[in-house]
Symmetry: C2
Subunit: 205 residues, 2 copies
DNA sequence: TAGATTGTTAATCGATTAACAATC
DNA sequence: TAGATTGTTAATCGATTAACAATC
C-alpha cells in the first residue's frame, strides 16, 4: 500500500496545485522547482523531494509539465474521490462555507446544513437545504455522510458533537474554539484560525 | 531577546489555551499534562516541554494552575497586543469573519471592510463600515493598519494584493486559493482551508 | 508516607537542506 | 555544446518521545 504522506507534504502539494492551476490558466506548459520554491519562499530541493512521492518525473534541464503534475497531485491527494459532508451550524461561517464553491474542486461536497433555529429550517443556501438538527442521524445514514463541518457557537459545540457521535460521524472539522471530547474512532481537525494567524504575526517582523 | 517559538508550538499553545478557558468556566483550578495530552491526543512530555517556554512552573504531583497558565500563554503569544486589521472583500467569507467575535479575544481587531461593489459600500457589518477599495491606502495610513485579511474572489486576488502592497500592508492573511506574488518585506499566510482538510481525511482511516 | 506529576536530559525520529552526478 | 534542472544521497537540523530523579 501507499506510504503515509506527512501533513506538511500534503499542505505543500496543495499549494503547488494552486500554482499549477494558475500556470495552466496562463497557458504556460512547464514549471521548474526553483520557480515553485521562490513563489512559496521555500527550498527548491524540498519541492523536488515532495514531487518524488508522486512517482511522476520531470525533464532534466526543463522542469515539470504543468498539466501532468497537476493531475498527479490530484490523484495522489484524492481530489476526485467524493467527500460528502454536512455543515452543522447555519450561522455566518456555516453560510460562508456553504457558498464556498472552491471546496468542490477538491472533492468536498456539502450536501446540506443543520441548525436548531426554526426560522432557518427549510430555507436554502446555495441550493443546499437547512434541516432541523434533530434529523441529522436519519439523514447522515441515508446519505452516507461521515464528515461534519462544525460551525456552531462555542456553547453548543460539545453538545452537538455528542449528537454527531451518535449519528456515526467519523470526521469533525471543528471551526469552534472548543476542544471536543470524542471517542477514539472519531477524528477531529481543529481548524483554530487564530492559532494559524498568531504563528504568522508572532515570528515574522 | 526572546527565542523564536516554532509554529507548531504556537499552534499547540493556542489549543492548550482553549482547554484552559473551558476549565476555568467549569470552575476547575488545576490541570495536568497527562490530561491536556489526552484531550489533544498528543504526548504528555510534549505538553510539559511546550510549557517550559512560558517560564512558568507547575506544582509537582498536582499540575498547573489554570488561571496562571492561561495568563502565561496570553502574555507569551501577545493576545493583549492590539492587531488592527482590514477585511478586503466583503463577500460571504468576509462577512463571516467580520462577525466572528472570537478574534477579539486574541487581540485581532477588524476595523473595517473593503469592496468594489457600490451596493455594499457605506453599509455596516457588525458595526464595521464597508468602504470603497480605492480608499484603502488613505485609511490604512490614517488608522495605522498593516494586516489585511484577503477574502476576494480568486480572479481579483493578485490585483487587489498589488493595491495592498502600494498601501504598505505588511501581513496578508490569504483566504483565496491563489499564490500571491509579493515583495520580500510583505508576509503572506496562505490559509488554504482545503490543504488543512485533506491532511485530515487522507491519513486517518 | 504513597501516589502523582513536574522538569529535564538523552535517545529517537523525521524533516529540511546542501551538494552534485546525470541528462535534457 | 553549454546551461539548466532533475533525482537522489548524505549531512544537518529540529521536533518528538522515553525515562526518571526530584518533589509536592
Amino acid at each position: 500500500m501507499n506510504k503515509k504522506i506527512s501533513d506538511k507534504i500534503i499542505k505543500r502539494l496543495t499549494l503547488y496545485h494552486c500554482i499549477l492551476v494558475d500556470y495552466i490558466s496562463k497557458g504556460l506548459e512547464t514549471v521548474s522547482s526553483p520557480v515553485i520554491a521562490s513563489l512559496l519562499h521555500i527550498d527548491e530541493s524540498q519541492v523536488r523531494r515532495d514531487i518524488t512521492i508522486l512517482n511522476k518525473s520531470g525533464k532534466k534541464g526543463v522542469g515539470y509539465n504543468v498539466i501532468e503534475l497537476k493531475k498527479s497531485i490530484e490523484i495522489k491527494l484524492g481530489f476526485s474521490k467524493d467527500k460528502p459532508a454536512f455543515i452543522v451550524g447555519a450561522g455566518n461561517l456555516g453560510f460562508a462555507l456553504a457558498k464556498y464553491s472552491n471546496f468542490e474542486n477538491y472533492g468536498l461536497k456539502v450536501l446540506a446544513l443543520f441548525d436548531n433555529d426554526e426560522n432557518k429550517i427549510g430555507k436554502k443556501v446555495n441550493n443546499k437545504e437547512i434541516y432541523n438538527i434533530c434529523k441529522i442521524k436519519e439523514l447522515s445514514t441515508k446519505m452516507n455522510v461521515e464528515i461534519a463541518i462544525l460551525t456552531v457557537p462555542r456553547d453548543f459545540a460539545q453538545g452537538v458533537t455528542n449528537e454527531l457521535i451518535k449519528a456515526n460521524f467519523k470526521y469533525i472539522w471543528n471551526f469552534t474554539p472548543v476542544i471536543l471530547e470524542v471517542p477514539e474512532n472519531v477524528f477531529v481537525l481543529n481548524e483554530n484560525l487564530m492559532g494559524n494567524f498568531l504563528k504568522f504575526t508572532m515570528n515574522k517582523k
